[in-house]
């Protein structure tokens, strides 16, 4: 599975890995982040 050139939906969690952190990771691997979200369940 190659992230390079892929479109990524980043589903983060406030107390896990947040959306912005996932996006930074995906972008550093050459992916394009098309949706970034962070969830909170409390």
């Amino acid at each position: 599975m190659k992230l390079q050139g892929k479109k990524v939906i980043a589903l983060g969690e406030r107390d896990g890995v947040q959306g912005g952190a996932l996006a930074a990771c995906a972008q550093s691997a050459g992916a394009e982040v098309v949706l970034e979200t962070t969830y909170c369940f409390v």
Partner: protein
């Protein structure tokens, strides 16, 4: 593809199922809707090895130390296998 940041195996499994076979809890808009999207957790080896090390260190390393990373990876891998995605 979908990249997850969920903090435990159970929620990782739930999210992974929702974006592949459909919402297993039948609670939301994706109940019965099979999107069939490739889904990975950011702490899986398959993802980690492609992320710039200094970015991973800054953004994820602390949570990897704190969460049950192996259980989470296994949960998401099982969903991919179950929904015929392979690795």
């Amino acid at each position: 593809m979908v990249l997850l940041g969920t903090p435990n195996a159970e929620s990782s499994r739930l999210y992974a199922m929702t974006v592949t076979a459909g919402d297993p809890s039948w609670a939301g808009a994706l109940a019965g809707v099979a999107l069939g999207l490739p889904v990975y957790h950011v702490m899986e080896e398959a993802v980690k090895t492609q992320v710039a090390p200094e970015v991973y260190e800054e953004q994820v390393a602390l949570m990897e130390m704190v969460l049950e990373a192996a259980d989470i990876a296994q949960a998401v891998q099982e969903v991919r296998a179950h929904t015929g995605q392979g690795d």
